[in-house]
Amino acid sequence: MSTTAAGSMVAAASRQPKGLVAARRLRHLKILLPFVALLAVWWAIYLSLDFSPQVLVSPLAVWHAFVHLVSHGVMAEYASTSLSMIGFAALLSLLIGVPVGFAVGINRYAAHALEGFLRFLQGISGIAWLPLAIIWFGFTHTTTLVIVIYTLIVPIIFNTMIGVRTIPEAYTLALRSLGASRLRLVKDVYLPGGLPSIVVGLRLGMGYGWRALIAAEMLVRKGGLGDLIFGARTFGQIDRIITGMIVIGCLYVVVDRLIVQPIENLTIQRWGVLRQ
């Protein structure tokens, strides 16, 4: 009796993971479904309407263009320009934005005074700064970098500020009564307490910044994926344009899912859930 019960339990236990694995696989497939659908619609339209290659090309042509660009090292060069630009901009934005966010968040009056201003800045997209930036810095990487950092840094400052301000006051009061200095409060309370918000700000900023980067590259024309697709337009290379667009989307997903999101999950697991 008890042995059969135990036996069936063991069987159930060994069966369960298999079901879970299958379910997980299905879930992954579900993510791919819309892409497959888009591809099918595209191909159907292409086949049924007989477009000239100046207007629309087949998915197969795009694939060939992709293979060509990759095998000749062109894609790597343009993509690495964009990626290193967003990486550098993110790093600089964190280095400047987090301390500024702390300084503002700790000071109640500064936070009140700056909240409206930061929202106002959020309304002026980085691209709207392009005319001024081009006049000031010319068609250079500096212009692109300034636009991307501007776009990235506002959500980082804003979320750092929010993060610091949502830390319960009792945490800091308690530590001050234990003799903590200002520096100690930053290290032991504000930094760990604000980290989940900082990461949220970084993730938002990377999303906005990536878009601003492509736009800036299209105007500045000094390399990067924006330059690639805008340059292809001049020669009517539809296949290159679409290839570039797909790579832009894919790289964003890769950066977000493989780098930014894991950091976010880590901090939320470590801090977010613990904070309650």
Binding site: P168, Y171, S177, L178, G179, G193, W271, L274, R275, Q276
Partner: protein, 281 residues
């Protein structure tokens, strides 16, 4: 009220303490002329209606706020800011959620740069004393409400302050756990000879723990009455406390004094008392 002929010297002296908060509708008076002397090693409890300025007084004692009027002396020296000599235990959870029990309790010692081995010894002793053994490496969210407050109490005790200020530390804990925590606190205080200033809403708690019970008027609060409680809290337990006729007479007396104030609280005063709590924070 301040007794010049007391045997033990006054650890804390409050004289002419009045405090105002700035609000949008002008200054709001939180307390009115509080005079108070707390002897070294004494356990003083303070009861009063919501918003009467209890927390304001405690924050001033801690050094978080400067009194608008009057003086606060600790060991004869004016209180100018928070100091590790005066530990604070808050009502709300004030231990850090990203630190384990052990690291939370040792935090004050870490700040004071106490060498690691000595720190570990103190922390281990307090973990045993507060019944947290086996939970050293847990995070606060893995603990019950009662255990979290034990961690907060242990953290304050670990830093070894001479004065401990407690602001309704057990208010958020369930009723049964609260009884245990109160008994433990009484024993802990007796074992470590601390001067304690303890705010509470509960008349039972005030009488059970206190050597003296102060009753405050409604806002702007001042000390309305001081009631001595005979015997030491250390030996008390709730079962015998509840059937002790002398103790229950004191409870009734304090309750009457508090009720007089509670009955007189107008709804408007309650609403602004909520505002005061926000501003006092």
């Amino acid at each position: 009220m301040s007794e010049p002929d007391t045997p033990s010297p006054a650890k804390i002296v409050v004289s002419g303490f009045r405090h105002f908060f700035e609000t949008a509708d002008g200054p709001l008076q939180a307390t009115d002329k509080i005079d108070l002397a707390i002897r070294a090693g004494e356990f003083v409890t303070l009861v009063g209606p919501s918003g009467c300025g209890k927390t304001t007084l405690l924050k001033a004692l801690a050094g978080f706020i400067r009194p608008t009027e009057g003086h606060i002396l600790c060991d004869g020296k004016p209180v100018r800011g928070p100091s590790p000599e005066r530990g604070v235990v808050f009502q709300e959870l004030a231990i850090l959620p990203w630190r384990t029990v052990r690291r939370n309790i040792g935090h004050g010692l870490e700040i004071a740069r106490v060498p690691r081995s000595e720190r570990e010894r103190t922390v281990t002793r307090l973990i045993e004393l507060t019944g947290l053994s086996g939970f050293e490496e847990r995070y606060p969210h893995e603990l019950s409400g009662g255990m979290r407050q034990r961690v907060a109490v242990a953290r304050t005790w670990a830093a070894n302050p001479e004065v401990i200020l407690m602001d309704e530390p057990f208010a958020a804990v369930d009723a049964i756990t609260r009884l245990t925590l109160q008994e433990e606190l009484a024993r802990l205080c007796a074992a470590t000879a601390k001067t304690v200033f303890f705010i509470t809403h509960s008349v039972d708690e005030a009488v059970f723990l206190g050597d003296r019970v102060l009753v405050m008027t409604r806002r702007p609060g001042r000390i309305k009455a001081v009631i001595d409680v005979p015997g030491r809290a250390a030996g008390r337990d709730w079962e015998s406390f509840k059937v002790d006729v002398a103790m229950q007479a004191i409870v009734e007396q304090v309750l009457r004094l508090v009720r007089e104030e509670r009955g007189a609280v107008a709804p408007a005063a309650l609403a602004s008392s909520r505002r005061e709590n926000g501003l006092g924070a």
